[in-house]
Amino acid sequence: MTTVPREPAEPLTLAVLDIDCELVSAQIVDGLRRVVGRDLRRRGAVVGLSGGIDSSVTAALCARAFGPTRSLAVLMPEADSDETTLGLSRAVAEALGIEALHQDITPILEAVGCYERRNEAVRELIPDLTDDWKWKIVLPSVVGTDSYRLYLLVAEAPDGSTVEVRLPAKNYLTIVAATNFKQRVRKMLEYYHADRLNYAVVGTPNRVEYDQGFFVKGGDGAADLKPIAHLYKTQVYRLAEYLGLPRAVVEQQPTTDTYSLAQSQEEFYFSLPYEKFDLCLYGHNQGLPVEVVAAGVGLSVEDVGRVFRDIEQKRRATRYLHLPPFLLEPVPEISRSDVRYDGS
């Protein structure tokens, strides 16, 4: 259990997500040691460290579980990364005393045509766009409307003027497919280091990202273990405070750090600031009435209904991301029955 039980009549506040940080971190540290050491037979952890809250907390927990000498942080910024990314991730690694390997992945991404393929799909829609423009993809908010939300391309010219275009399916899918090279290249490098060191790759999704499919299959979705996937984002921030991570990391707002124009996770995917989304997801998971959630979150009943429907829609749309490869016929000799999850 990671949340405090609540009475039905209680007003819904972020207090429902309060956790005993000492206990929760100890449980995760135990789980990391058990799974990595016993089930995976590996002797340490590799974490792709972006300096964001999730990867920083994950790295800190790995450092506690395996010690600084058996925890490796891989820092992999690229051309579109925010200029603060590398500094933040270095500060985290330094605070934890773990080794940090820096590899700028821009040349790899250039070699596979990530930027070229992506920019070509963008220029089909905005022919004037040149390399000095900045742009991002935005999903209109679910709040206040029952309209279907179609992704928009928002581009900013060097003179500060902006262009907004609805993304046709072909261009949207091409841009996303090309951009996904970033997460997949990072994972490839994490596994390179894991293989050479006999370490496990530890993934960094929080509960909201895991639940809503906010990850790339074969990219940041790939890992041997995802130790904070049961924690709401609010709880990850609480753990970050408890673990003593640098203030700059704890105080930053979540971004995707993926497109050249600054893009919050809220405008790309979740439609709400993380505290409100956490409460909506919690309320939906607990089967709370929309009226109770609406009062707690400060949204209308109609908007909470929209958020609940969007949560379900995203679960359906991203279900395939969670699925392992299907076999058309069973291979009974290869099973997971030898893996024990109960710690026994």
Binding site: S147, L150, K170, Y172, Q313
Partner: protein, 84 residues
Amino acid sequence: MEGDLRSFLAENFLLGEEFRGLPGSASLIEAGIIDSTGVLELVGFLEETYDIEITDSELVPENLDSIDNVVRFVGAKRNSGHPS
């Protein structure tokens, strides 16, 4: 038009036999036939095939969430005299 629409949905979303019996009033999203990317593809198909422009305010379930709704919506757009 309903036949074209059913063909588009069947071909693009790899739907099997069960799709043939789908009532025209059924929600395409709730029935799991299309997702958000599917809506994007449906809008592109309708704009291109029927030479109409669908505005942001028209992107609502009343216009697009069932075969009946799409047929009615596109019919009304085409009859309005200024398709694009």
